[in-house]
Symmetry: C2
Subunit: 199 residues, 2 copies
């Protein structure tokens, strides 16, 4: 069976990564989403193994020591990481697997897996990003400014991603992602078997 | 205005390059087709400047001497070449320009214009290619076998193209080309301006 592709998707808080990825998955049943592990407390409504694998600090440290993460990072006192085993299993089963992660973790994955497809989702502008963050209604102005500052840092490393998709209209952003996945499969390195006559 | 992209499309005789390109152009008005120059005789129904620029051997030699071709090649005693000027004009006007040419010329273009997008159109199999060549009705078996031999040579250099599209169902091949053009525009090198806040 043909192995799936690893897809790293990053972008600033408020850009709508989750919505874009959800819409892509609805359209392409061959795309699966990786589940992260975290040491933070489970919140009401969250399901272990669906939203996150909720694990202890000790377990997290042990998994780092055993090199069982594709990437891991610290965020507001808690740890987050992508366990490699479930991702590798889905890839072996032929699924494309999306890691929807922060740039800090994204770059770690790109170092380890240079064959991964990497997409940075950008906002149409910082004004729009600010408006979207404010529109959520659950963040105060100071937090909005902190997230915009964070976005500026993320944009500085975004050029290490292969593709940049602007999430202006959701439909366009999803079609962009679909075009990227389709075109990547057509790259000669993945198609050379077609040039052999004995196939 | 945003400059257009140069697109080199090659593939064996009988694979249906022309049909795929025609269908792509019908769907994407931003795509133009380059017109080649040739020294061969004009045939009934052909229009100078539309099917080819029909020029003399002397003129052809002069254009080579003045480095006015993107590529040129000899085929069955006649010369064929892509004049650079009209292509550059269309690119400046923002059109994507397709060169539908033999691999011999295609590789010359890729050397001169490493930024070109290159797509090799392959047949689903040699059996299918043979059947298509025979189905044209205008070629005898010896010519079919010569074209298949020619195709084998072309497949050997096809790996120097960036993408390989199989022309099995026309609709799929056209959608493949559209995905390639869309994804290429999303590459970070073409999108970096989006990462600057002052835009």
């Amino acid at each position: 069976m043909k192995k799936g592709r690893l897809i790293v998707i990053s972008g600033p808080s408020g850009v709508g990564k989750g919505t874009v990825v959800k819409a892509l998955r609805e359209r392409d049943p061959n795309v699966k989403l990786s589940v992260s592990a975290t040491t933070r407390e489970i919140r009401p409504g969250e399901i272990d193994g669906v939203h996150y694998y909720f694990i202890t600090h000790e377990k997290f440290e042990q998994m780092i020591a055993e090199d069982r993460f594709l990437e891991h990072a610290q965020y507001v006192g808690n740890r987050y990481g992508t366990p490699a085993a479930p991702v590798n299993r889905m890839l072996e089963e032929g699924y494309d697997v999306i890691l929807e992660i922060e740039v800090q973790g994204g770059l770690q994955v790109l170092e380890r897996r240079p064959d991964a497809i990497s997409v940075f989702i950008a906002a149409p502008s910082f004004e729009v990003l600010g408006a979207r963050l404010r529109g959520r209604g659950d963040t105060d102005e100071e937090k909005v400014l902190m997230r915009l500052q964070q976005a500026r840092m993320e944009y500085l490393v975004a050029k290490r991603y292969q593709y940049i998709v602007v999430n202006d209209r959701l439909e366009d952003a999803v079609a962009d992602l679909q075009a990227i996945l389709r075109a990547e499969a057509l790259k000669t390195e993945h198609q050379e078997h077609l040039l052999k006559e004995d196939d």
